[in-house]
């Protein structure tokens, strides 16, 4: 099995939830247990991909995801596609200069670099901010006010840094492969923050929407119907790995390479997660081109 890389770029707020919570927000987004960093579970992505591919090619769907219904053991086989969770790579945060800043941290970049190495991509060395109140920005950054990066209510000392510029260019090339303007926009607004600050922002700078439900008879809010939903903001960037094996379908064997060729490549528009009816969950799924 050979790992392949994918990125998700959210075009609208994204709510991949975990159901009702007993915590701070009524409907929180999914997070990794150990890090509390936002994730999009592989199962969410897999379901949407199945729907998308199944609408165009039922045979390919069977090979990739297995049969939809299993009547007996003889008709059962495993799908050839394994989709991993998508992890937060860069999150847009309100900035005093430049409107917003795509923030990440050395902790995230180390894991990202490891996964990129697995698929044969080289990455720059990871720079670390000088201290816990210090950020690194690309040489072309538009987020600096003199030497300060103001994010939400946080004033961080910041330094222009060539390695950070290289990282911004590396990520921008992967998420905006044919869009020079998109790349420039990302590079100018990128920053590497200390791990602690990124962790704090990933919990407090996600988007909260207050929802209500109207009683149709009275035109007023239904009793108790006021709740908070959490979303990953639009313009968030996530990454993950997927893998293809040779198909397990009896009598219709296809190699992993053949299946990879049949998958949509480049950029695909998908709707992920909940609240689709109120405009949430529009994402770009970016997969690497497969060499012929």
């Amino acid at each position: 099995m050979h790992s392949r890389l994918f990125h998700l770029h959210t075009l609208s707020a994204l709510h991949c939830g975990t159901g009702q919570s007993v915590g701070v927000v009524d409907l929180p987004i999914a997070r990794a247990r150990a890090t509390q960093l936002p994730i999009v579970p592989g199962s969410s992505l897999r379901g949407v991909l199945r729907q998308e591919i199944g609408a165009r090619d039922a045979d390919l769907e069977r090979a990739l995801f297995g049969p939809r219904t299993v009547k007996d053991n003889a008709g059962s086989f495993a799908g050839a596609l394994a989709v991993g969770d998508a992890h937060l790579l860069a999150m847009p945060v309100r900035a005093l200069a430049g409107i917003l800043c795509y923030v990440t941290a050395p902790f995230i970049l180390r894991r990202y670099a490891r996964d990129l190495a697995d698929v044969g991509l080289k990455t720059p060395e990871i720079p670390s901010p000088a201290n816990r109140e210090h950020a690194l920005v690309p040489t072309d950054s538009v987020n600096l006010l003199d030497t300060t990066l103001v994010l939400e209510d946080l004033d961080l000392g910041a330094q222009r840094n060539a390695r950070t510029q290289e990282w911004a260019m590396t990520i921008a090339a992967l998420i905006h492969p044919n869009d020079a303007t998109g790349q420039r926009d990302f590079i100018e607004r990128f920053a590497i923050l200390p791990d602690d600050i990124l962790g704090y922002l990933s919990e407090t700078a996600t988007e909260l929407r207050t929802r209500i439900s109207i009683d149709q008879d009275t035109g007023t809010v239904k009793k108790g119907a006021l709740w908070f939903e959490e979303h990953l903001p639009a313009e968030s960037v996530l990454w993950g790995l997927y893998a293809l094996s040779d198909s397990n379908e009896p009598n219709q064997k296809r190699t992993a390479h053949e299946l990879a060729q049949a998958l949509p490549s480049g950029s695909a528009l998908l709707q992920l997660g909940g609240q689709a009816g109120v405009g949430r969950g529009l994402v770009r799924l970016l997969t690497q081109e497969v060499a012929a």
Binding site: V22, V24, V25, R132, Y200, G224, L226, W227, F228
Partner: protein
């Protein structure tokens, strides 16, 4: 040894239960529901400043600020003795302390909100629930 979450929960339970017979317990409950979201959306200083400002005309805001202070004390986050002192502590905090206070306040306000639902039976809109709503 007791888990920190249990210490915080015990204090939140006691604070909310003590509001059971307050005439404005519904208003207290409605604002308690909003507090965690208020902290997340506006920041801790803004949220506690709002409670302090509104408290002059609507005492349930000060009641909630006082309960937040009490729960934070029980969790060992700080040792202040009034809601106003809590707000002063927050606006005087450096970056590292702000991160810590925010996380602790989110945890404390989450527990207060939960007990408002479970003990006072007040919903987010300030209505009383029969226990069937969320």
């Amino acid at each position: 040894m007791k888990m920190r979450a249990h210490q915080v929960a015990t204090a939140a339970y006691a604070c909310v239960e003590a509001r059971k017979d307050e005439p404005n317990k519904k208003k207290y409950g409605a604002i308690a529901h909003k507090l965690p979201g208020m902290i997340l959306q506006n920041g801790l200083a803004q949220a506690t400043g709002f409670l302090l400002a509104k408290g002059a005309g609507a005492p349930e805001h000060l009641m909630l600020l006082d309960d937040l202070k009490e729960v934070l004390r029980a969790g060992g986050t700080l040792t202040v003795t009034s809601g106003e002192a809590l707000h002063r502590e927050i606006i005087g905090a450096d970056l590292a302390k702000t991160l810590k206070l925010t996380r602790a306040a989110l945890e404390a306000s989450g527990w207060i909100k939960r007990y408002v639902q479970g003990v006072l039976r007040v919903t987010a809109t300030g209505d009383t629930s029969n226990g069937e709503e969320n």
